[in-house]
Amino acid sequence: MADLETRDMLLNVGPAHPAMHGIIRIVATLDGEQITGTDVEIGYLHRGFEKMSETVDYNGVIPYTDRLNYVSPLINNVGYCMAVEKLLGISVPERCQYIRVIVSEISRITDHLTCVGASAMELGAFTVFLYMIKAREFLWELVEMVTGARLTVSYCRVGGVKGDLPEGFAEGCRKAIEETRKVLAESNTLLTRNRIFVDRMSGTGKISGDEAISYGITGPFLRASGVDYDVRKDCPYAVYDRLQFDIPVGTRGDNFDRYLVRMEEMEQSMRIIEQALRDIPPGPIQANPETGRPIPAAEMVDQAKVGNIGAIADRRAVTDPTLDGAAKPLHMHIAADEKRVFLPAKEDTYGNIEGLMQHFKLVMYGHGVRPPKGEVYFPVEGANGELGFYVVSDGADSPYRVRVRPPCFAIMSALPKLLIGDMMADLTPTFGSVNMIGGELDR
């Protein structure tokens, strides 16, 4: 037996493999079942985000940012807009900041639900996947309520957000959180002490805190290795410094700790949403008794057509608050007080010459938002870690350079380190815990 020749085996996994969510190719060198080397090939979803950003105006980049991390697009919107606002030197009203925090945290929960659910499914726990997708559905309904879209939200604008929170959002949000808590409790009983799940997850894909830092890994992946770095705590932005929340930190840096950290982070995100809903300064959505009963816009038009002005004189029309600039009173709470950045309310655009000029100065080709020459880097805590935007302006209407620091790029570069020494079957849980998002990785 001793003189039999042994050779390493090359096994190609991907680019499209049923046990991997995402288009990536891993060429693994196997000695028996043990992985002795990997070659990771990415770039299958490269769409030239950074090049395209240089060709459109500042607000035109926002739809592209939706397509970076498409599981939590609202965080990308917030990160990009805050970077440009830093470049412009403006700040947004408090209510707008709370709205941004709320939508970011909803997105973080959807991202973690997808990550945990999908990696559980790949280990055979299909029930958990269905439960978690059910919970994600409740949250995406909220996102749909606020932004009008589920995936390609484009909700933030430079200097504000597209529209205020819709009526009934707070109640809907509380209900969705309640449902999500139930799902998490169920999933917890199904997974956390499940022998099969624990055996596959614990001890695999290990990385120490120092190694993770050396790779530039951030987010839940780093925290599972025992380093408590969170942009929301260490470099607080928006109103995170006013909210109470804890940063869960793991100890062993393996797949199981990453699962536990993500589960706890969802709970903390819900805590943040509850506090933000409690503390958010009231907007005009709350009824204003002086203007009387708001009436539907169509009814108002009908009354005006027959000349019944008295019936509508002091009334407010009920318009869809998610419409861009649908109502003037909404504007002062969600948009920065800078006329050269944010579109005026539609009433002003149609109603007076200043509003009309302001509108056209912003939408005309070659005009638009023109930040001063400069460069800024702004990090936010994405679902996978530090999501940074580096924006350079040369004073023109389109960005000179937009660079996004994708959090899962750093984690993917550490993939060989995570896999080598483990069994081939450990590739699936390790890759699942990386939570690779192709749009963000390849841009």
């Binding site: 951030t218 400069g374 580096y390 620091r405 390849d442």
Partner: protein, 196 residues
């Protein structure tokens, strides 16, 4: 450390290497010469005064068309030119691109223990003069590996001492470096699969 203190500390430590420094919107930036990059990076990482344990990002900017964008805002049918809005006035002054060179490699460092960030820029000449080359930081941060490969892929800037400098997002047969300003945005190239 505040941005100003940080800049002062680095300038004191490297009087030769630091070409310029500024703080804009609270972001501390130092512009250093290419020769001193490794030394500065090692000091930033290992010195107790800086403790920059994270290399957050490596990227580059091609400054060849900076501020040269023509203003398209006129009505071609009438010939009436409309001046675009003036820049929003700025209380802080940004001193402009880091140098007359075409490229700048931009590093973002972060210190977790001391919670400060620093941007380091290394101006580089044009690749045609075989000049766009800078030392690799892979020996100090493992994460620099992929980030530097991406800069090579997108800008054609080479990293001296990189163990595996090949394209990462694009394929090997791709001609040119797309984030250079002279690469047309609508240029198409045939898609070729990876070669084993």
């Amino acid at each position: 450390m505040t941005a100003a203190d940080l800049i002062q500390a680095i300038q004191d430590r490297f009087p030769q290497g630091v070409r310029a420094a500024h703080s804009y919107r609270g972001d501390a930036t130092v512009i250093i010469s290419r020769e001193s990059l490794i030394e500065v990076a090692r000091t930033l990482k290992e010195d107790a005064a800086f403790q920059m344990n994270f290399l957050m990002d490596v990227t580059a900017v091609d400054f060849s068309s900076f501020g040269k964008k023509p203003s398209p805002a006129f009505f071609s049918s009438s010939g009436v030119a409309v001046r675009p809005s003036p820049e929003i006035p700025d209380r802080e002054r940004w001193p402009g691109p880091p140098g007359p060179e075409r490229f700048a490699v931009v590093y973002h460092f972060f210190s977790l223990p001391l919670k400060h960030r620093l941007r380091v820029e290394v101006p580089l000449g044009d690749a045609e003069e075989a000049d766009a080359e800078v030392d690799s930081l892979v020996s100090l941060w493992a994460g620099a590996d992929w980030l530097e490969r991406e800069v090579w892929d997108m800008f054609g800037i080479r990293f001296r001492g990189h163990p595996n400098l090949k394209r990462i997002l694009l394929y090997e047969e791709f001609v040119g470096h797309p984030l250079r300003k002279d690469y047309p945005v609508n240029k198409r190239q045939p898609l070729i699969g990876p070669v084993n």
